[in-house]
């Protein structure tokens, strides 16, 4: 029974919530809000004994079991101790759990909504981490949902809250509101026109942080950037969300303007780049993750510029997860060397892009 449930969450590369395209989905892939909360009477997870961690787990898991979350959707609780290493890895690659919960937690659990847009982690760095994901640019909606779920938990849980410091968290970088709001943006035209550094520098000057997605450190694989609030104390949640919203809105406009310029000033080169990448993805036999990310970014740009009418953005969202190592391993159900993985990756991409397979 348990196995079946995990299977459902780890098998489909595309979470249900990502099948619909949200507003401004030509630039913003998804919007996410994470809220951190702790219980007053328990030590934070880092110092908790196993018994204490289990008490926290029991108390917080009760909320979803008691049906209090029914108004939000239907939920399943997965205990980390009952998941295989591979299942954990796939859940991490789908951003449903954090690497921290997967690898370091004791008494860790995740409560997942059926469409996977809500993921509630128990005994992560903090006792409770509520995460809401929306497709496209819907950061306000994501906060509204997260805040509503927070209220439901607060009916049962005695939160660690201080009048002066706000919601108390394990790490001082989260204290106060405990919220981290982020938007994942695809910014190929700003990268191609070499405006990205100027814009990202400006972003960091207004209290926001930028990270490349799926990349090491600041290197952004596939031109995907995650922009999030850095400050959690002193500003209200509305101010934090509005600030991120306004800055992201401006970046969207800059990216669109840069795309227009690409088409106007170098249409043939852009078209060549996009279609060349599509051709390579459609026929390559070996594809490492770095190249896959870059080529998929080109194809996505092509779709948004209406240069590749046969490809849907959903397929690209799916490939974003499917080309990750853990997911590949699970799909083909075998231990693989890096080279074997690159072969499998190429195979999967060819299949997904519906191109006649090269016969062996």
């Amino acid at each position: 029974m348990k196995g079946l449930t995990v299977h459902r969450f780890s098998q489909d590369a595309l979470s249900d919530w990502m099948r619909t395209l949200g507003p401004d989905s030509d630039v913003v892939i998804s919007s996410r809000v994470r809220v951190a909360r702790n219980l007053r009477k328990q030590p934070f997870p880092m110092l908790a004994t196993s018994a204490q961690a289990n008490e926290v787990l029991e108390q917080l898991a009760d909320v979803s079991k008691s049906g209090k979350l029914d108004e939000v959707g239907s939920f399943e609780t997965l205990l980390l101790s009952e998941l295989s290493e591979l299942d954990k890895r796939v859940l991490v690659e789908k951003h449903l759990i954090s690497p921290n919960l997967a690898n370091e937690s004791r008494g860790g659990a995740v409560v997942l909504s059926e469409n996977e847009s809500v993921s509630i982690m128990i005994n992560e760095e903090d006792h409770l981490r509520i995460q809401c994901l929306y497709p496209g640019f819907q950061i306000g909606e994501a906060w509204a949902l997260a805040s509503g779920i927070d209220d439901i938990y607060e009916e049962v849980a005695d939160y660690a809250f201080d009048e002066k410091r706000g919601y108390l968290t394990t790490c001082p970088t989260n204290v106060g509101t405990g919220i981290r709001a982020s938007v994942m943006m695809h910014l190929p035209a700003l990268v191609l026109t070499q405006q990205i550094n100027r814009i990202l520098t400006a972003v960091t000057q207004v209290g926001l942080a930028v990270r490349g997605l799926y990349g090491e450190g600041s290197e952004a694989l596939g031109n995907l950037f995650q922009i999030s609030n850095q400050i959690t104390l002193g500003q209200s949640e509305a101010e934090i969300i509005d600030n991120l919203h306004d800055v992201a809105k401006q970046i969207i406009e800059h990216e669109r303007a840069a795309r227009k310029r690409l088409l106007a000033e170098s249409r043939l080169r852009t078209e060549d780049r996009v279609k060349r990448s599509f051709g390579i993805l459609s026929h390559a036999v070996i594809m490492d993750s770095k190249e896959a990310a870059q080529r998929l970014s080109d194809v996505r740009l092509g779709v948004d510029l209406e240069l590749l009418p046969d490809v849907t953005p959903q397929v690209l969202n799916e490939l974003l997860v499917m080309t990750q190592p853990g997911y590949l391993q699970q799909t083909f159900n075998e231990k693989m060397s890096t080279e074997q993985r690159d072969v499998r990756r190429a195979e999967l991409i060819r299949e997904k892009l519906k191109v006649a397979q090269i016969q062996d």
Binding site: R165, L168, C171, T173, Q205, G217, I231, L233
Partner: protein, 175 residues
Amino acid sequence: MYCQECGKKPATLHFTKIVNGEKTEFHICEGCARERGEGIPGSPNSFSIHSLLSGLLDFNAIGNSSSALSGAPQQPIRCEECGLTYTQFSKIGRFGCSSCYQAFSERLDPLLKRVHSSTTHNGKIPKRSGGLIQCRREIERLRKDLHTHIEQEEFESAATLRDEIRELERKIAEM
């Protein structure tokens, strides 16, 4: 420029943080950076947020111990609830429990100011347990209102506000 940490070697890792226009700079040498076990500078992610925080806290500790050189040995600051000492906190950059915030309160302001440019929460308050806090905030707001009304000699509305404040104060007394 010399390393902020050891003060001996030239600083090769430079880190600038700008929050709301307020600039904070860190300059550390390669050796000190490596000692933290966080890889070498220049490589991505060579500084995790926790090590950076603990760096901030260490600097505080250095400042404090040198100023207290002449005095008696200091009692370590410890959280009575979970046993975490301030020194431990400054190494790992994480609190052990909610009481740590109270125990280390005095030393937190400079840290929080550097990270958030603020020391005081200004957002959501828990509905159930936060009733008292909400009442107090409401009273504070009403008092400010009251003041303006009195200044403008609008005594009738000032009287209404005064009654509202009294009502809230009675509510708090019953809590």
